[in-house]
Structures are given as C-alpha cells and as structure tokens.
C-alpha cells in the first residue's frame, strides 16, 4: 500500500491483567531489585522509542520510562488493553505484549516488526497456538477493535480474519528463539519460582537484563540511508549478528531493503559486516559480544 508507514516505533505492555492464581499482582513480582514490569519496559525501551503501559484503574506501578494509560472500562480482556495501548501510541504500529514475560527475545520482537510491510498484524505461532500478546499491530486496526468490543468479541483472533494478518510459522520463530522462552508467562507461584530460577542463572537473557551493548558504525549507503553514522544496540545473552540486524531494522527501518533483507535476517548482496575492524562476516550466526564494534559497509572496496 503506497504511503503506508511500516515503522514499528512503539511497544505496548498490558500490565492490568488478572493475577488471581498468582495471588499477587504479576506486574510487581520482584526480579532482582526491580519489579517485573520495570524489567520488561526497560528492555523494550532499549529498542522502541515509544513504550506505552496499559494498567488497570488504581493499579500500583513503579516509576517507568513509558507513557501510562489506564484501562478505564472494567476489565475487557486483551482486546480492550490492545485498544487503549494502540490509541496512546505515537507510531503507526506497535509490538504488543503482556507484562509477565521475563524472557522476551528482542531479536524475535525485531523480526516480527520487520515482517510488517504489507500486513496489519504479525502474530507468531507457538506450540500450535497463535500468540496475540506477542504480536505487532498497526494502529489502523483501531476502529475494528472498537467494533469488536461493542459486540463483546473479547478475543483478539476475531480481528485476524478481517485484516491482513501474517501468522509466523513455528519454524520461523524457532530460528530465533529455539525453546520459545519468549512465550513463557507466569500464572502460578510455581511459574514464578521457575522463572526466577532461570533468570538467576542467565539474567542477561531477560529483556533489559543487560548482556551489554555493541556499537554499530554505518558507512556508505547504510549511513546515507539511515541518516546516522552510529547506533548502539542492546544485546541479549549469546547474541549473534542476526540479533544485531534485527535490532538495526527496528531502529533504522530505512535500512530494510537496501542494506538488510526484507526479513532483516541477512544483508543484501553488496554489503558486509566487519567485527572490530578485523573479520568480515555475512553469516548471521556469528557471535557478537558486548563491547564489540560492528562496521556495516559495502563489500566492494573498488576505488
């Protein structure tokens, strides 16, 4: 569609869901020194310039680097939350998630965002089910969501038939998140214990858990297209070059097409990355460590 912006510049975190089986508000479950919602928001804020948190009226929340909106009507399920969140977004599209996902994988999130062109919704499959609370939505679906709410259709899947929905096959998801930890959410105290145990082992695998950052310097076509020469990218634990590309696609959508492939999982012909001024790499599985310097350049050095 011409003129349609494919920028996914916002993230929406639904923090107001029920926590009946958990016995206490999930958003406030401590992970280290901070509550879960803060951990999730901090991770998303590293890649999305705009983060919106949708909370229930009166819900207690910590100070967050995000726009806070309240789900004013009594709880209407995820569709209501998505609706309020999208309404408050500043970008044409948003990644939407719940707040009880300690192991969000930012490269998978970036990958979903990169798949948006020509679609209104991008939603992954995991273990045979669609994951509407780990999906990208265009703001343009808002009127449809409102009508859905009026009719009492509280499940997001009703939307999917009406708009251009891309469902990602499980294989495509597994390529980035082999064990599906992205979709691990917590409903019971036992889930929380399990999450804490894994989180303590590999805190860096959690969003914002801070494996560290790498600096990417752009040259030539990449720099002129992106209108910037340098960006810093948050790395998950055991990050690869593919993670860097996904994050770049999200931060600098102008690179997608000319420099990064449409699915942001590779470089276009004619481009190459260099690690720390040393190795030339085009293979996305190559490890990138915190503090690495990635140069993104033309692979043709002719002069």
């Amino acid at each position: 569609m011409t003129g349609e912006s494919d920028t996914v510049g916002s993230a929406v975190v639904l923090a107001g869901g029920k926590s009946s089986r958990m016995g206490r508000p999930k958003a406030m479950l401590p992970f280290g020194e901070e509550p879960l919602v803060a951990l999730v928001v901090r991770g998303l804020a590293a890649v999305f310039p705009d983060v919106v948190v949708v909370a229930a009226p009166g819900q207690e929340l910590p100070e967050l680097p995000a726009t806070l909106v309240r789900d004013e009507v009594a709880y209407q399920g995820p569709v209501g939350g998505i609706r309020y969140g999208l309404e408050a977004c500043r970008s044409a599209a948003a990644f939407v998630t719940s707040c009880d996902v300690p192991f969000l994988d930012l490269s998978l999130v970036s990958h979903l965002a990169a798949r948006l062109p020509d679609h209104d919704v991008v939603v992954p499959h995991w273990e045979g089910r669609l994951q509407p609370l780990h999906a990208v939505y265009r703001r343009s679906v808002l009127p449809l969501l409102e009508r859905q709410l009026q009719r009492g259709e509280l499940r997001p899947v009703f939307l999917y038939d009406k708009v251009r929905t891309l469902t990602l096959a499980e294989d495509e998801v597994r390529a980035l998140d082999p064990d599906g930890w992205s979709f691990f959410n917590m409903n019971t105290p036992e889930d929380y214990e399990r999450a804490l145990a894994r989180w303590r082992e590999t805190p860096a695998s959690a969003p914002g858990g801070g494996a560290g950052r790498c600096e990417v310097e752009l040259f030539g076509v990449a720099r002129l297209r992106a209108r910037t020469g340098r960006v810093s990218v948050e790395l998950p634990r055991e990050a690869t070059l593919a993670h860097v590309w996904s994050a770049l696609a999200l931060k600098l959508p102008a690179l997608v097409g000319p420099v990064l492939t449409e699915t942001a999982d590779g470089l276009t012909a004619g481009h190459v990355c260099n690690l720390n001024g040393r190795d030339f790499v085009r293979d996305g599985s190559r490890r990138v460590a915190p503090g690495d310097r990635v140069l993104l350049m033309s692979s043709d050095a002719g002069g």
Partner: protein
C-alpha cells in the same frame, strides 16, 4: 566481421602518413580488445628497449568489442604505451563518448609513432586522417583544447582526447583526458606530449554490426537490470569516495606518506560527509546505468569531480585535512592533466624529505601544508623550481636527491602506490608487488580477497598467489572486453556470461575456456613485454617502509609485512602462474598461450 572493423590506423608523425592495417581475426580472438589489443600492438610496434619518450615508442588507443553495443558500462577505451614513469607497460583505461567515437571513426585501434615537428592534432573522420596545426592549443588544458577543437570542427560530431600542460612538459605522470575523464596512470600523457601531439579528434558514422543484435539487446536489458541491483549500490549512491572512512576504520587508509594507516580528519574528508554537505551532482560515462561519478561543490563556487583515489592521495597521504584544499588540488590536477595518485604520492615523498631536512628548496612543502600543495601542483606541471624534480615521479626524484630518500618513495616499479595499505591488506600487497604496470589497483582487484573474509587480511598465508593471479586475469578480461570493473560483481558466472556476450557480438564460437585463456594470455604478454624491457626479479617488490615499519595506528596497529612474507607470497604467486621460480614466464607457459616466438 562483426564487433570490429577489422582494421586499425597507424599514423607516423614523422612522415605524417596514415597507414591502414588489418587487425587480424587471430589477434582479436586471442587478445579480445581494449587492454589486450593494446598490449598486442605495443608488443609489435615498440622496438625492444625503446626510450619511453623517444619518437619510436608507440602510443596505442584501442577500442573493444563491446564498445558501442549499448551494453552498460562498456563505453571505454585503452591507452597503452611504454611508461616514462616505470619503463614498463602503461595500460590505462578511459571512457565515455571518445570511446564510442573510436568505433564510429572506423578504427579498432590507433597507433601513433614518431614526433611531429611542431604541435599538431590528429583528426580522423570517416576513415580519412590528417594532421592539423595545434600551436594555438599548446599550453591549454585538455578541456580547453577539447572545446576549442570541437568548436573549430563545428557541425561534425567530433570527440577529442587531449593532453594538458603536464603532458606537453613531459611530466612523467601526465594524463590523457577526454570529457573530464582521464587515462590516468603511468604517464601516457607525457608520451603523447613527447610526440608534439596535443590531441586526437575523431568522428564518423561507421557502425559496427553485431552478429546477433537481438541476443545483444536481450543481454543488454538483463545486464542493465542487474547493474541497478544491490551490488552496485555503493557506486550509485555514494561513489568511490565511500572508501575513505571505512578504510580509516580498518587501518587501511595510507596517510602522511604511509607513516600511518589512519587519518584524524577521515570523517571530515569522508565520502559520506562530502555527500551530506557538499553534494552537487552525479554523473557517469556514456552508456552507463551505474553513474558512479560524483561532483561536489567547492566553497569558491563551481564543482569538482572527486574519486576515492584522488581524495586519498591529495588528502590523507599529504596530511591535508581541509576538504576545500583537497577539492582545489584535485581541480588543479585535472586542469593540468596530472595523475592525482602520483601527484599526491610524489608530494608526500617531498614532504617527508623536507621534514627530514633533505629538501631545502621544497617551497614550504610539509605534511598538511595546503598552500604549498596548491603552489606545487602548477610548478610540477610547468616544471618550475622543485616542481621540475617532482615532475619525474618519486622514484626518479629520490634517485636524484639521494640520502636514502628512496626508502620513503612509496612506489613499485616507479608507479606511486594507490590508497590501499599493503600491510593491512596482504593479498593486495602481493598484487601491488607483481602488477606489470607498478603499484596498481585497477589491473587487478587483489584487495577484493582481503575484504571478502575468505582470507585473514592481516596474515599472508597461502593461497595468496592463486587469488592474485585469478584477480589479474579477471581484470584482464574485463579490461579487454571492456566492461567497467564496477559491474564485476553483477555476474554469476563471469567467464561464461562474458564469453557469451562476446559470441553474440562477434559471431565467434567463443566459450568460457577461450576467454579464460585469452585473459591469461593478455596478462602474460604484459609480463613478457616487461621482461623484454629489462624487468628483473627485484622489480617485483614493495617499498622498504612497507617491509620494515609496523603499522603505527588503528585496529591493525603493530602489524608488519616482512621481507620473508613477501618472498613466500611471491613464490606462491609464481607457482600459481606456473612461471619460473624467479618470476620469469616459462617457455612452457608461453607455448600453451601461443606466445612463444
């Protein structure tokens, strides 16, 4: 005959007599055109041991089979002669409408020998050749000479290649220029100047038919499509100036006469920042869809074409940080007809000599001294003061000056190094050492391996020899067909596709194997020519600085390239070439290529 006229013109300036000769199908099949055809004619016409600036040294302009077919990037021609800078082969390319005019005038090639008694220009129109008085053009820039001749021949669609004052004054790195493009390296302009030949003007309507016009049209459309793909994005969107900042980060940008491989003002001079702040216009050769040429606005008003090599040589290499000064220096080189790489290289040598107190009359030359550079360039072109010494290039100047100054003359075989640091690009180091025309980045793209990740660019482990040999042959094929090197990555199976193009144009039954063999033959004949002109094993070398000093700055800091490493790479290369172990072309190889006497 398809794709060629089947004849070339030999003009002897002593007698003024033009003579038509058959090109011969065997020569064309064996040497393709362009650089190959030019080399073959040089070998035939140059008396062994000829002085480069003597009348007998032939100056060859060679057309190519793909020129004029409309195939993208093929409006190119070769200039081949014995170089007054190196004493070996000089084989340069230039492009655009003059290239098309060689064909249109009815020539496969033009060979000029002798020396006119006074300045002349040669006019070839529709098969007739005449020498015309050029005294009124003497002293003019190539561009002025070009426009004057075109105005004089108003009505004829004439195209002109000319020398500027540098060529007239026998500056050993003078260029031949047409339409703002230059046959740049090796001093071909000095050879033209030595013949009192100011310009060559060509016009005509002599079409060359292709054997399979429909096939050619289909191939042209496909190639055009590919030329607009991601492989050429750098050239289309930024131009060659894109190299500068990247090379700096990789520790591959020679600065201050190769004393360091990074430059503090790299960001200020980078192609990206030039584009963001001073972009004026994009331009290209005739028949080109890539259009890599960039012109930038100068603060003095006007615009100046800029390529990476010019930017590197007049900027970092001379320690110049001010981009306006670099643009102005480039304008001067273009105007006088000077190879900007050798100009920068020779100036950088002089700067180092001056800083070491060896060149008292250096005219203020010091690294970073912009004013002195802007004064020195006209002085070189006019052979005034220290310019007279520098006009002979860094090697001759160093031999004249003495005091070990040859140690920091950054040249191979007399040709100044281009902007690729050999110590951090070790495949390129070998390529520079063995290239027949001296330190050259065009007649092979050896650096491609270093940028590919296939080898560790800081290490010299084998198989560097095979990589360099393959790159040279690839370039020989491109340069003879002629296809621009910036299209080189748009082929999937280059030899098969290129041979198929050649077959469609010429009607020959021509396959990948024959083209491969021709490429090797062309490269080998260049080498044979050099052997004939006195090449010795020690000529395949690198400057002492490269082999003794480790890199002082940047990511590759501390990296060295030792004499042993170079020796091993040379052995590997001669081995890959199946030459003798001291680098002479073996009799068996000559036989295989049909080159034995």
């Amino acid at each position: 005959m398809h794709g060629f006229h089947g004849r070339f013109l030999h003009v002897d300036l002593d007698s003024g007599r033009p003579q038509w000769r058959e090109t011969g199908e065997e020569r064309l099949r064996g040497f393709v055109g362009g650089i190959g055809l030019g080399t073959s004619l040089l070998y035939e016409f140059a008396p062994p041991g000829v002085e480069p600036l003597a009348p007998e040294n032939p100056l060859v302009f060679a057309s190519a089979p793909l020129a004029g077919t409309g195939l993208t990037t093929t409006a190119k021609y070769a200039v081949v002669t014995k170089s007054p800078l190196t004493g070996f082969i000089a084989d340069s390319l230039s492009s655009s409408f003059f290239a098309l005019a060689i064909k249109a005038a009815g020539l496969d090639a033009l060979v000029v020998t002798g020396r006119a008694a006074r300045p002349v220009y040669l006019l070839v129109h529709d098969g007739a050749a005449e020498l015309r008085d050029a005294r009124h053009l003497w002293g003019k820039s190539a561009a002025e000479a070009e426009s004057t001749v075109r105005a004089e021949l108003e009505g004829a669609a004439v195209r002109v290649a000319a020398v500027g004052p540098a060529g007239e004054n026998l500056v050993r790195f003078a260029t031949i220029s047409n339409e703002g493009r230059h046959a740049g390296r090796g001093g071909v302009g000095a050879v033209m100047g030595s013949k009192n030949l100011k310009a060559v003007a060509l016009c005509g309507n002599q079409c060359v038919e292709t054997a399979d016009p429909e096939g050619v049209a289909t191939a042209a459309a496909a190639l055009r499509q590919r030329s607009l793909g991601p492989h050429t994005a750098k050239y289309r969107e930024v131009g060659t100036v894109a190299n500068l900042a990247v090379f700096d980060r990789l520790g591959a940008l020679p600065a201050r006469n190769f004393q360091q491989p990074t430059f503090d003002a790299a960001d200020e001079l980078s192609g990206e920042s030039l584009t963001e702040t001073s972009f004026s216009r994009r331009n290209g050769c005739a028949s080109c869809t890539i259009r890599c040429e960039r012109l930038f606005k100068a603060s003095s008003g006007g615009e100046q074409r800029m390529e990476y090599e010019t930017l590197f040589a007049l900027g970092p290499l001379c320690g110049l940080e001010d981009r306006e000064a670099v643009l102005e220096a480039a304008r001067l080189c273009d105007g006088y007809g000077l190879d900007s790489i050798s100009t920068g290289g020779t100036l950088a040598w002089a700067m180092e000599c001056a800083e070491r107190g060896l060149l008292p009359e250096a005219g203020g030359l010091r690294f970073g001294a912009a004013e002195a550079v802007l004064d020195a360039i006209p002085a070189i072109a006019e052979r005034r003061g220290v310019g007279d010494l520098l006009a002979d290039g860094s090697r001759r100047a160093a031999l004249a000056l003495g005091h070990d100054s040859l140690d920091w003359a950054m040249q191979v075989k007399g040709l100044e190094l281009p902007g690729y640091e050999p110590r951090s690009l070790k495949t390129m180091a070998l390529g520079l050492a063995v290239s027949p025309r001296g330190a050259c980045h065009n007649r092979s793209g050896a650096y491609e391996a270093d940028f590919s990740g296939k080898v560790d660019r800081l290490d010299s482990a084998p198989p560097r020899g095979a990589l360099v040999a393959a790159s040279e042959d690839f370039a020989a094929a491109l340069d003879s067909l002629i296809v621009c090197k910036f299209l080189r990555n748009c082929f999937q199976d280059f030899y098969a596709e290129a041979a198929d193009l050649l077959a469609k144009v010429t009607g020959w039954d021509y396959g990948a194997a024959e083209l491969r063999l021709a490429a090797e033959r062309i490269h080998t004949l260049k080498r044979r020519f050099n052997e004939r002109e006195g090449w010795q094993p020690e000529d395949d070398a690198l400057p002492p600085r490269v082999l003794t000093e480790s890199l002082a700055t940047g990511v590759a800091r501390g990296t060295r390239l030792t004499r042993d490493e170079l020796r091993d790479m040379l052995r590997d290369y001669y081995d890959a070439r199946e030459w003798d172990e001291d680098g002479r072309v073996s009799e068996a190889k000559l036989k295989k290529l049909g080159l034995s006497a």
